[in-house]
Amino acid sequence: MKKGVRGRIIFILLTVFASIIFFLPSTPVYSKLPPWWGRVFPSKGITLGLDLQGGMHLVLEVQGEKAVDNTVERTMVAIKGSLENKKTPAQSIKREGRDILLSFAPENKEAISKLIDEQYPNMTTKQSGPGEMVLTLKDSEVKRILESSTSQALETIRNRIDQFGVTEPLIQKQGANQILVQLPGVKEPQRAIELIGRTALLEFKLVDDDNPIARQLPSQIEPDQEAAILQEYQAKIPPDDQILFERDVNKETNKVTKRPFLVKRQAALAGDLLSDARVSIGQFNEPYVAITFDPVGAKLFEKVTEENRHHRLAIVLDNNVYSAPVIQEKIAGGRAQISGSFTTQQANDLAIVLRAGALPAPVTIIQNVTVGPSLGQDSIDKGLKAGVIGTLLVVLFMFFYYRFSGLVADLTLVLNVILLVGALAAMNATLTLPGIAGIILTIGMAVDSNVLIFERIREELRAGKPVRLAVNAGYDKAFLTIVDSHVTTLITAFVLFMFGTGPIKGFAVTLSLGVIINLFTSLVGTKVVYDLVISRRKVEQLSI
């Protein structure tokens, strides 16, 4: 046979062989291969999308504004302390939105200004009079906090998910303040959401039992009375204090009640001073979380417990009181226990979030797509079935209409599919259900090029040209039209790829690849067969 033909056939066979090697890991056959195979040849095939594998896709929005508010609050508390230390105390200091309103004795103004400039460079003076000042956070600071709160939240969430144990999670920043989380094959989506979304701000606040109002508070209320209690007592309590609630569950009746506590607003200690949190089992087989403070925290803890003996210290998580044990004596060594009505799983999850740290700002879930594994398998099955039937229909039509040439076109089809899945596997591309639809679509489009070529050949034959010339003319003249039609489909596929998310991107990928591969198979792949047949013997008539 002609040399050119042999070269082309070898090339095509090589590409087919390579495709099979790449695609092997995605087939059931792979598990039966010897272990050394994975070391020499590619071991990762096609990635299944979430809609085929099952799993969870979340988009979280970080409420950076809250982080800004928190920073202003913390700065206010710090300023109050600094001023007291310098013996130039503020007569009143309060926060309004992002502003801190300060009033003081006029003679201290210079000293106070100097202190603020030196120690609090993130604030700038908005207004000032002889005895008062309005400070606000610098714009550059606000920007920095907003940006860093998203990155920080990302790291914290990554930390939590690492401990949760999901294979190959995807966690990345999206836009200015959004985080994308994908958990393929996650078994307990609800638990994962709670783990990810909890702010987990741990604070230790002293209970203000000395205040007479504290005695007026009821010791137990129904959960829905919470708002009413707050409204009733808000005006009566000093500005330093706040009312927080503890949630109690009666062991026998499972009835939920709440218990109000009057606590100091400013936290004595916070969770960022923790160095470890572990789950243990207590006296009555109840799980609790044992926390360990770092050296700074331990020292502070010692000081607080020393100064507040016989007072209660409320352990507050996300503004909910978990417990409020009485401080019997000074506690050195920096260890404490958090107990509440936990199940072992709840205790575990709490330990995870305490170890990973609190989120710098609350996050809200703005998109949540969860697919169960059974639906995923169902989709794969349906996709494959449609694919097989679609292929069969096209194959039969081509054979029926174009006879032998139709079979040649069917060869294109098969070649196309093999190379396409091989290419997908080589790129470790993600296959989604629309992606499968894209593959089936390319099956339908694959033979179109052949139809164009065959019709051309028929025209040439009708005009009386000999077979070999007719075939060549057919391929030549149809060439540009085929290129045109492929380019136009590629344009839209490309746009879909750029703008699409998840499943649609999967469709764009399979469509684009399919079209590009088709250019190769329909022009080169099938021509080889004709050249092979024609070069062997003189063909008088063509079955087309």
Partner: protein, 304 residues
């Protein structure tokens, strides 16, 4: 050689005004539906409108009216329900304005657990999309459509003469709007997959049109003596077989998806089926006759 169309002599050009009328009707339908979409009055999927969609699979058959009642009683009014009877599957959609708080999925689960305690179910999939995300997707979809159209016009204008480009673009817009209009009339949900189908069929219907234009251009090269109408008519008749067959192969493939591919890509397949039919129709009856509209002003169309 087996042929469906032999040597035909159909007068496509002569009857063009009938087809223009039909096409104008279809396009107006599409434009109307576009207006309704922007007013929020069309059946927009939660991809665009925001909201929640939950798919449940029950162990035993469940009656759709009883399900609706159960949801009503539990604070989920105005939920759209769709049923796949043979699988005992229920698809529930709640639009964003009807959601008071998040966690629609939990509410739905509680509602069914309470009302049908003996009928166990599993949540197969759930999708919750906040309203801002929906708007962003809408905007993205619109930009994507505009961008593709622009690129297509540019490419065709580059490969053919400018007037060919305009005619091809009009035909493509016609196809997209016609399918959109039909979907709107059938009150089918318009979601991201449907937009994907529209974009795909835009790119694909162009290939049919290009085949006809190629032939017209080729014929114009040789046959200067004959009238433009004659050339166009002959060209279309000559390529009848191939445009028909290329459409048939895609049609068969998409038909398989429509019947066997499952609910998720069902509407996508429907849009593609309509797109193939409309696309072939527009290549024969709309795109080429449109070329005649320029002849009166400029003289004979030359090859690119």
């Amino acid at each position: 050689m087996f042929e469906i169309f032999g040597k035909t002599q159909i007068d496509f050009v002569g009857k063009r005004y009938i087809f223009f009328a039909l096409s104008t009707l279809l396009v107006s339908l599409g434009l109307f539906s576009l207006v309704q979409i922007s007013r929020g009055k069309a059946n927009l999927g939660i991809d665009f409108a925001g909201g929640a969609a939950v798919q449940l699979k029950f162990n035993q058959p469940i009656h759709i009216d009883a399900a609706r009642k159960a949801l009503d009683e539990n604070g989920l009014k105005n939920a759209e329900l769709q049923q796949v009877v043979q699988d005992n599957r229920l698809l529930i959609r709640v639009k964003k304005q009807d959601i008071v708080e998040q966690n629609v999925r939990d509410k739905i689960q509680q509602a069914f657990a309470k009302s049908f305690p003996d009928n166990q179910f599993v949540v197969e999939s759930s999708t919750e999309i906040g309203p801002t995300v929906g708007q962003k997707l809408q905007k993205d979809a619109l930009v994507a459509v505009m961008l593709s159209m622009l690129c297509i016009v540019a490419y065709i204008a580059f490969r053919f003469e400018f007037r060919f480009g305009i005619a091809a673009t009009i035909a493509t817009f016609h196809d997209v709007f016609a399918v959109l209009g039909i979907f709107f009339v059938l009150n089918k949900e318009i979601n991201l997959l449907v937009v994907t189908a529209l974009l795909t069929l835009a790119g694909y219907s162009l290939t049919d049109t290009v085949v006809v234009f190629d032939r017209i251009r080729e014929n114009l090269k040789g046959r200067r003596k004959e009238s433009l109408e004659q050339v166009i008519n002959d060209s279309i008749n000559q390529v009848l077989s191939r445009t028909f067959n290329t459409s048939v192969t895609v049609f068969l493939a998409v038909l398989a998806i429509f019947f066997f591919g499952g609910e998720v890509i069902h509407d996508f397949a429907l849009a593609m089926i309509m797109g193939v039919i409309v696309g072939t129709y527009s290549s024969w009856f709309v795109a080429s006759p449109l070329l005649l509209l320029w002849r009166k002003r400029v003289g004979v169309l030359k090859r690119a």
